[in-house]
Structure formats: C-alpha cells, structure tokens
C-alpha cells in the first residue's frame, strides 16, 4: 500500500500545499460531510441512552410529583407531597441515617484496607500476579452470587464464622447468650451488611490505587531519597499528593456503586430486623415496586441524588481534565 505523496485521489478537494502529509486525508471529505457521518454514527448510541436514561430520569422527576401507583396509571399531580411525606416518616429517617452510616463507614474502611493492600501489592515479589488475581475475586464475582455465600456464612445456627469463633473460645456454644446472630441483632446486622460491602469493595480501591501508584515515577522518589527525605516525608510530600486524586476517583466510583446497590441488604436482611438495615435503595424498592406506590418510591430514590452529586461532580471535573 504505497502512499505517493501528493498523488491526487479521485474525488478529493485540492490539498493546501505545505500541509503535513499525515493530516491531509483526514480532511479529504468536506467538513460538513464528515460531521454528518459522525453524527449519524453517534445517533444510535445517543438515542438509545437518551430514550432509556435521559427520558426515564425526567420521568422519575414527574412520577415523584404524582400519586401514580402500579394499579392506577392515570396519575394526578401532587406537587412535593411525596417528598414531604417521606421527610415526615420515621422509616425514611432511619433509612437515610443508615444509608449515610453505611456509605461513609464502609467507604472509610475500604479506603484503609484498599490502601494497605495496594502498598503491599506494588512491591515486587514472587507470585504477585497470582496473589493479585486471588485477592480481587470479591469484586469480580457477580454480587448477588457472593451475597448468597455470605448469607450462608451468617446463618443463625450453622454459621461457619460462629463455629470458628466458638472453637477458639471467643464465644460460647450455640444457644449461649454471646452467640452472635449476625443478621438478627440490629447493630450486628448493620455491621454485617457493611462488612459484605467492604469485602466486595476493598479490592477495587486497591487496584485503582495500584494503577495510580505505578504511575508515580520512581525517579522522583529515588531523587527525594538521595536528597535525604525520610520515608514519612517522601510519603507525605510526594506519594500522598500524587495518589490523592486517584484515591478520590476510586472513592467516587465506589460511592456510586455503594449507594445504588440494594442486593446486599435485600438478600441478607431485606431491611430488617425492625428497620435496622433499611437503606434508601431497599426502601425505594419496597415502596415503589413491592407496595406499588410508584410516586412515593420515585421520590425516595431521588433523595439519593444529592448524596450522589458530590461524587459525580468530582468525576466530571477529572474527566474534563482529559481535554488536551
């Protein structure tokens, strides 16, 4: 495929003399035609996403301000009534509080564990690839599937965790007062669902951070060491500022994943015992689909939006930085 510089191709516009050879043919088609083709190629994706994400999003704003139910498709406009009703109900307060505790608490734990793991995994050592492949298993298993495993491990009577704890003498036998019923006692239940979320999320934080750590040029660290910077100084002045943006990105994605996930709570406790693990996603599902109050459910799920917004704004800003 010999490219003869300057050879005229049929049907092209004349090329300005002196233009770089590599650029020339990109401009072969007139700009208008190229744009037309471009937008035609974009159209299917944009239309699909617009029709099934954009429109439903706007529709959910409308639903939230209506008294629509599953049985009654003709909805009446009720203004902010659904939001007011939600804000006045104790169930909602509990769910909101649990959501914040869940997201923040699990987020901090994932950050700590993930950072530790990342620093271990960036070291060169024998068997690193195998260790890495094994340690990310929690993140790669489909979530509903691994939660089922946890449900079995948290079984009220045959929990393998309790067996182990009992064997090493930390708790008594089955039936003794200190036998933990992980999913049956309110505070334990919230801790348990958070634990499963942390279990699933820490490998994600770790690998995002690893990607960031390997992009910190080792020369910078080495030269700092030569200049006499202590480990703590190197850590604070070089490593932290360089990985902080990546940690934020990881945390932002993780927050979006965590806030929008209902399967852990739904499958382990379905909000129980007595609302102790109710979070906004389960409340929205149970109100909107189970009880059929579409308007109420939509309003509750929209309360997630202000919680999501900081994460999305952060991501938007870093994505924009990609412009060159």
């Amino acid at each position: 495929m010999a490219e003869v510089p300057g050879a005229p191709t049929p049907g092209t516009c004349p090329v300005a003399v002196g233009e770089r050879v590599g650029v020339r043919f990109r401009w072969r088609a007139p700009a208008a035609r190229r744009c037309l083709l471009g937008y035609a190629l974009l159209a299917p994706a944009v239309l699909y996403v617009g029709a099934l994400v954009g429109v439903p999003f706007l529709f959910s704003l409308y639903l939230a301000m209506s008294d629509a139910t599953v049985g009654d498709p003709v909805a009446g406009f009720v203004g902010l009534e659904n939001f007011r009703a939600a804000l006045e109900s104790t169930t909602f307060h509990v769910a909101l509080r649990n959501t914040v505790v869940f997201t923040v608490g699990a987020g901090v734990l994932k950050g700590l564990l993930g950072t530790t793991l990342a620093f271990l995994l960036v070291q060169p050592f024998v068997g690193r690839r195998v260790v890495r492949a094994l340690v990310v298993i929690p993140f790669t298993l489909p979530i509903a599937i691994s939660v089922l495993g946890w449900k079995w491990m948290f079984d009220s009577q045959f929990s393998v965790l309790n067996w182990a704890l009992s064997r090493v003498g930390l708790i008594g036998g089955y039936g003794s007062p200190d036998w933990p019923v992980w999913l049956g006692q309110p505070s334990l239940a919230l801790a348990s669902v958070m634990f499963v979320n942390v279990w699933r999320g820490f490998p994600f934080t770790a690998i995002v951070l690893m990607a960031g750590l390997t992009s910190v040029p080792t020369e910078i660290i080495d030269s700092a060491r030569v200049d006499g910077a202590s480990f703590l100084q190197r850590f604070r002045k070089i490593i932290v500022p360089m990985i902080a943006p990546i940690l934020f990105i990881g945390a932002a994605f993780d927050t979006v994943f965590t806030l929008s996930d209902l399967s852990i709570v739904y499958l382990l406790t379905n909000g129980g015992p007595d609302g102790a693990t109710e979070i906004l996603p389960t409340l929205a599902y149970n109100t909107g689909i189970r009880a059929g109050a579409l308007g109420r459910g939509a309003a509750i799920s929209l309360f997630l939006f202000p919680l999501l917004l900081p994460a999305m704004v952060l991501l938007l800003r870093t994505l924009r930085r990609r412009q060159y």
Binding site: M1, T9, G22, F25, R34, C35, L37, G38, Y39, L41, L42, P44, A45, V46, Y48, L52, V53, F57, F59, S60, L117, L120, F125, L134, I137, T140, L141, P142, I143, A144, I145, L148, G149, W150, W152, M153, F158, V160, W163, W199, I207, A211, G212, S215, F253, S260, D261, L262, Y266, L280, P281, A284, G288, A298, L304, A311, T318, L319, R321, R322
Partner: protein, 289 residues
Amino acid sequence: MPARPRAPRSPRTKALRRHAALYLGLVPFLLIAVFPVFWMAVTAVKQESDLYRMDVVPFWFHLPPTWKNFDLLFHRTSYRDWIVNTAAISFWVSLITLLTAVPAGYALARLRLPFAENLGIGIFLTYLVPAIILFIPLARVVSTLDLQDRWWSLVVVYPTFTIPFCTWLLMGFFKTVPFEIEEAAMVDGCGQVGALLRVVLPVSLPGVITAVIFSFTLSMQDFLYSLAFVSISEQKPVPLGVATELIRGDVFFWGSLMAGALLVGVPVAILYNLFLDKFITGITGAALK
C-alpha cells in the same frame, strides 16, 4: 579461624525476609477474599446431613462428597432455563452494545466532531446514573413495551449501562489506532465507512472483544433490574433465579444454592479478572493521564 563476614549470605536472606514480611501482610487479605468461595464450593458438594454438624471441623468432608445438589438444581428447578436466559440476554445485549457503541466510539475518537470530548463525557456520565434512580420509571417503559416478566425486558434495559461504558472504552481504543492505516485504505479507494469496516475494525478487534466481555460481565452484576422486572421463574437470569427460587419460606437449599451460584459465578469472575485492568483503565484513565 578468622571470622567470615556474613555479607555474602545477606542478599538472599534479605530477599527471603522481605518476602516473608510481605506474605505475612497479604495472608489476611487472601484469606478473607478466598475463603467465602472455598466455603461455597465445599458446601456445594456436601451431603445435606454433613452441612448441619457443628461438632466436627466443618471445612472438610465427613461424608463422601455428592453431586446431588447439582442434580436437584438441574432436575427440580428451572436452572437450565436460567442459563439459557442468561446466555440469550448476554448475546442480545452484546449485539445491541456493539452496534451502537462501535460507531459512536469511532465517531468520537476519529472524526474531529465539534464538542466530541464533551459528548463523550456526557455519554459516560449516564453510566453513573444509578439503576436505583431509573428502575421505577423504567418499570413503566417495560410495561408499555409489554415486556414485563420476560427476559426481553432486560435486553432492553441492560444497554443503558453497557452502551455508555463501552462507548467510552472503545473511544479510548480507537484513539490508539494510527491514522495512517486508515489513510492508506482511503488511498486505496475506501470511503470513510469502508475504512472503518475493513481496516480500523479488524485492527481494533481486541477492543471490540473487550466490549463484548464487559457487556456480559456488567450484565451479570445486575440484580435490581431483574428483581424488579422479572418474577416468573422460567424467565429469570441465573443470579436472580438462584437467589429467589432456592429459598422456599424458611427452607434454604444451601447445597444447591451454592452449586448454582458458583457454576455461573466462577466463569464470570475469571473472565472479569482477566479484563479487570481494562475496566480500571476505562474508568480512571482520565485521572491518570
């Protein structure tokens, strides 16, 4: 006898020590990551009466392993239907995603459209609009299309997250294909579309395959949509079917539950594992540049 310096031994010892310390730090992480899967696997092939014994070490078998749990799964539940549904859903979702995301990614990366970068970011942002906000209005869409309680509803809905993600992924991929091969094709008489189909696409095959893999693995991570839209047993995909059909009231078929979960979960986890770096680059690429 003169004291020999210990130095010659030290590089080796040092390396050993370093490894020991590292492994010591890693063991808790490995244990906590792998144990649940090991436990699920053991449970899947244990006999029922072997499951409920607290007097012996539960980590291994006290009665011979059995395939009975798999037998129940395949003969007394709709597991085979769930697998067929999952395969069909994955096929159609991948097809829809490719037909839309390949051209979109190409156009955003290559055609120098005005606002291309912002459009790309806009499409990717829709990946971040969570299912939990969309599932109630989408329930209306599904019922309008008369697809409720059919797996086809999931074929319609899953592209809402696979298209944004794969468009973004492919956009990055197409940017790495050198312009020269495309130009060479045009010199040889291809149009822009011809060049895309005959030259750029074959070269981008790894990217296209990655997009297919993610259409599959991301679809497998869904639980909410299938829970909300499909309630007939024969129409369910595997994760939903296993999670809802093997629990009857207070009776849990733990052996079959774990068998059904792992049978599909492990292949998905392996696939995802192999492509995990691409996923991470896909979502963080912007920050690392």
